[in-house]
């Protein structure tokens, strides 16, 4: 074996891709040829570096299975990552809530807008733009996010009877079907809004920046903490909170609610009332115990949802 032949086989030699007889020939030549041995070391070093540097990008062993599982789940409508719904639905049957969450992501959080309008039936959520991420879901018991976590425009999340899903919305505009309860919870760092529809669809959103709520037929509950809330002439409710603010205050505004109900938010005051406390089991989703202080960790909910939060 001459030097040229050795050089042509060096990469395969380093990679363990040569038949045993050729390996022996290569070893004999390299032991006697300093130039080829030097080249051998270079190839070996480069190859090792290449493989090591690319290792973090290697598709996981479960990659293929994850894709196939998601596709299968998607096709069966399982958790509800169903195929895109038809556009332009029929007559209005119910008021629907449309949430426009304009999230400027600071860590994982941004801003949102919420509105009611006609759309899919109760218990369904359709992503209009942006992305919704399924954090957890419950069918019998709470489970980690499905393999397919993100829901893109035109796709829907449909919870079957008795099931629930917790989602995070980032830069997303979604439409939620059914009578929806909106629950606001703020901490010094962030504001969470929880939507719970009659169809047992729960949506948790973490917000750091200003967002808007346009709501009709919505019951608003301000839970622990405080938020800036403003009501526009058109019934538009603006809620804002700021990142890193040690205290989020509320102007004195009234929020018109469905069925003649009204909620007053005192100027400059911190809302401490919990007219309708967040159910204990929901607090547990957020990684908190009922009655814990608002400072107990803004990211608790995110942490609980750990695997589902890309880039967290």
């Amino acid at each position: 074996m001459d030097c040229n032949e050795v050089r042509e086989n060096l990469v395969a030699f380093v990679d363990g891709g040569l038949p045993p007889e050729k390996v022996k020939e290569m070893e004999r030549h390299l032991a006697e040829c300093p130039d080829c041995e030097r080249e051998h070391r270079k190839v070996a070093r480069f190859t090792t570096s290449l493989v090591e540097l690319l290792e973090p990008l290697r598709p996981s062993r479960s990659f293929k299975e994850s894709v196939l599982t998601t596709v299968t789940t998607h096709e069966r409508g399982g958790l509800g990552l169903g195929p895109p719904p038809p556009r332009g639905r029929g007559p209005i049957e119910k008021w629907l809530l449309a949430i426009a969450v304009g999230l400027v992501v600071m860590s994982v959080i941004g801003a949102a807008a919420l509105l009611f309008r006609s759309g899919p039936p109760a218990g369904k959520l359709v992503v209009e733009e942006g992305t919704a991420t399924v954090l957890r879901y419950r069918r019998g018991s709470w489970q980690a996010a499905p393999e397919r976590k993100e829901v893109y425009p035109g796709e829907r999340v449909a919870t079957s009877a008795g099931s629930r899903a917790v989602l995070r919305l980032e830069g997303a505009s979604v439409t939620v079907g059914g009578e929806v309860t909106v629950q606001l919870e703020s901490t010094p760092e962030a504001l969470r809004i929880h939507f719970a529809s009659a169809g047992e669809l729960y949506v948790d959103v973490n917000i750091l920046r200003e967002f808007q709520v346009v709501a009709q037929n919505v019951r608003v509950t301000l839970g622990r903490g405080a938020a800036n809330v403003a009501l526009g002439a058109d019934g538009r409710v603006t809620v804002s909170a700021w990142e890193g603010s040690p205290r989020v205050e509320t102007p004195d505004v009234k929020i018109q609610l469905a069925e003649g109900r009204e909620l007053t938010v005192p100027q400059g005051g911190r809302l401490r009332s919990e007219p309708e406390p967040i159910p204990e089991d929901r607090l547990k989703w957020l990684g908190r115990e009922a009655g814990a202080s608002a400072e107990d960790g803004d990211d608790a909910g995110e942490a609980a949802a750990g695997p589902a939060a890309p880039g967290d």
Partner: protein
């Protein structure tokens, strides 16, 4: 892909049509065949390792449900890579990250760290962060001719043995060795400024 003496694996176009017919294993084969390259493209366009896997998976899922709209099944790979780059860009945009092709240091960049051998080189290669270095490698791999790129992805990204690569690609082992040798030579040339080969 050109097979030699081995029975050639089914073409992308055949697998696409079989997938549309819901033939068992067809889409699985497409995923297995292209997962590495899709992951690299997703990384290059999202700019973060953490997002690349999600983007790559999402690209396959989107592609699967859009297969019936693919006019030219033979163009599956380029179509799939476009989906992957779009998904990855969306993710990067939502995170406020600059396109990954930019090598400007950003918050995601890790502390520049030399790796083995770098200090021994008389002319030190450019010191890049690990992330920047990965981007350079990915760009170099993507720039390879298709035949070389395919084997380079299987060998260096997926870290498969020659036997496994031969089985998956349908190439004879001697053909495979030549292609990997060429791919390695081109990559060494392209990455010489960044990866030290030692003295």
């Amino acid at each position: 892909m050109s097979g030699d003496d081995r029975p050639a694996p089914r073409s992308d176009a055949e697998l696409v049509l079989a997938s549309i017919r819901r033939e068992a294993g067809a889409f699985e084969e497409l995923v297995e065949r292209h997962q590495g390259l899709v992951k690299l493209v997703a990384f290059r366009h999202s700019g973060a390792e953490a997002d690349a896997d999600d983007a790559a998976q999402e690209a396959f899922v989107r592609a699967y449900f859009s297969l019936p709209t693919l006019k030219d099944p033979a163009a599956f790979k380029s179509w799939l890579l476009r989906i992957a780059s779009n998904v990855a860009r969306d993710i990067a945009r939502r995170r406020g990250r600059r396109p990954s092709v930019s090598l400007t240091l950003d918050e995601d960049a890790e502390t520049p760290a030399p790796f083995e051998g770098i200090s021994e080189v008389p002319t030190a290669p450019e010191r890049l962060s690990q992330r920047e270095l990965r981007l350079k490698i990915v760009e170099a791999i993507e720039s390879l001719p298709d035949d070389y790129r395919q084997v380079a992805v299987l060998r260096y990204l997926e870290d498969l043995s020659y036997k496994e690569i031969a089985e998956r690609s349908g190439l004879r082992e001697d053909t495979l060795r030549k292609r990997i040798h060429r791919a390695n030579a081109v990559l060494r040339q392209k990455l010489r400024r960044y990866i030290s080969e030692g003295p």
